[in-house]
């Protein structure tokens, strides 16, 4: 497993905002079908790292590769735009605040990009939308507008929207953090389903229980560095590093409050 050629490869990622170093030389390799969780305190750079993967927040230095394509290639503006739009079709992203398109129905949210970018016919798009919405359990809301959905439902539609592009990797940035506690489970279930289908995923999360149950590997980040990484049993049960221990202890205390 470990000597397999990496699917997603982040090499020596560095990112600064002015003088503030947000990522300090981070490397991360994810194999095909692997599920990696990134945990860490607020401001540690988790989102920045995740958003560097599809070049939403470009790195200051370092490289990001998906299979044999470098994502963050330096190219003249026009060429870069063409390149990145192509690359991003392979990388699904799910946001904390869903970012569904409020002026479009659930169906249109899911079909907009595939129709526009892959030239699907209306029938093909309809079939695709049904297939994806079926998967996330939202087929009965296909004609709804986002404003009439609960947070959990919105997030499931957002996942269907990302899946409709048939991505090779899915990125989740605290997909359940904005949800009421009773709605978290329905989204977790969808993510577990993806895990069972061997979707490659990078998941930024504050939910240690969920991370432990679905992930192959956990990264603990603090102040822009990966402090410790390893299998979930190790990181959650028996971490070596004192910072990891402290973080988990604090986190547990908060969760039990």
């Amino acid at each position: 497993m470990t000597d397999e050629k990496p699917f997603l490869d982040i090499r020596n990622a560095k990112k600064s905002y002015g003088k503030l170093e947000v990522l300090k030389d981070i490397s991360l390799r994810v194999n095909r079908g692997q599920i990696v969780a990134i945990i860490g305190p607020s401001g540690s750079g988790k989102s920045t790292l995740l958003r560097a993967i599809n070049d939403l927040d470009p790195l200051t230095a370092g490289e990001v590769w998906l299979e044999d394509v470098q994502i963050n290639k330096k190219l003249p503006h026009r060429q870069y735009e063409k390149h990145i739009n192509q690359v991003r079709q392979n990388i699904g992203m799910v946001f904390q605040h869903f970012n569904l398109f409020p002026h479009l129905s659930v169906r249109e949210n899911v079909t907009l990009a595939p129709k526009m970018l892959k030239g699907l016919s209306d029938d093909e798009a309809e079939e695709l939308a049904r297939e994806q919405l079926e998967k996330v359990g939202m087929i009965d809301r296909i004609d709804y507008y986002p404003s009439r959905l609960s947070g959990g439902q919105k997030q499931r539609v957002a996942i269907a929207r990302a899946l409709a592009m048939k991505p090779k990797v899915m990125l989740f940035d605290e997909a359940t953090s904005a949800l009421d506690p009773e709605l978290v489970e329905e989204v977790n279930l969808v993510m577990k389903k993806l895990a069972e289908e061997h979707m490659t995923m990078v998941i930024v999360t504050h939910e240690m229980g969920f991370a432990e149950s679905v992930c192959d590997r956990v990264l603990f980040m603090d102040q822009g560095v990966v402090v410790e990484e390893g299998p979930p049993e190790k990181i959650f049960r028996n971490p070596d590093n004192e910072r990891t221990q402290n973080f988990l202890r604090k986190h547990l205390a908060n969760a039990n409050r």
């Binding site: 599809n54 192509q86 690359v87 079709q89 398109f101 970018l117 507008y145 990302a162």
Partner: protein, 215 residues
Amino acid sequence: MDVDLMMRVYPFFLKAAVVTIELSVLTTILGLIMGSLGAAARLSRFAALRWIGAAYVSVIRGTPALIQLFILYFGGPQIGIQLDAFSAGVIGLGVNIGAYMTETIRGAIIAIDKGQREAARTLGMSQVQSFRKVVLPQAARLMIRPLGVNINALIKGTALVAPISVIELTYTAQRYIGSTYKPFEMFLLAGVLYMVIIYVTGRGIAWLDRRARIV
């Protein structure tokens, strides 16, 4: 109050009201064009365009519309711009209101949560595609009301072309005062007609706004 006199002259005022409406419509169209260009410039990724957009807005908003109109109509011929009064009126007022509309349109666009654009971009949509299919349709709904405010101001602003002798409502009122010495009646008549135009426009905009609501 001389009601008889008002009854006798009101057909001429109606004709003048038509001119005011024409002025308003053409000014709105030009204003929307200038406003869209202005907003595009102000939001451009090229610094030079942003600067031009900002300069346009601050020059226009920093000087009286009447002075702008006078420069165009009276000063224009000196630098080779020869316009009839009506055209000068439309261009002067249109360029003027365009600066205000620039800010309205830009405001509506930047009010759309940046997560919307990000979501579109992460799906692989280009800048243009995400703007056209995701940002603009939402911004367009947001800008209907504030553009209505601009249009309301513009209709009242058409009175500014009276001094350059466009035969619209205000000019007509002044002319009849010259011959009748009844300013109260004449201005009242013009005022009522302005109100009707503004009321109908306002209702139209409210209707559009309601229809465009996101369900």
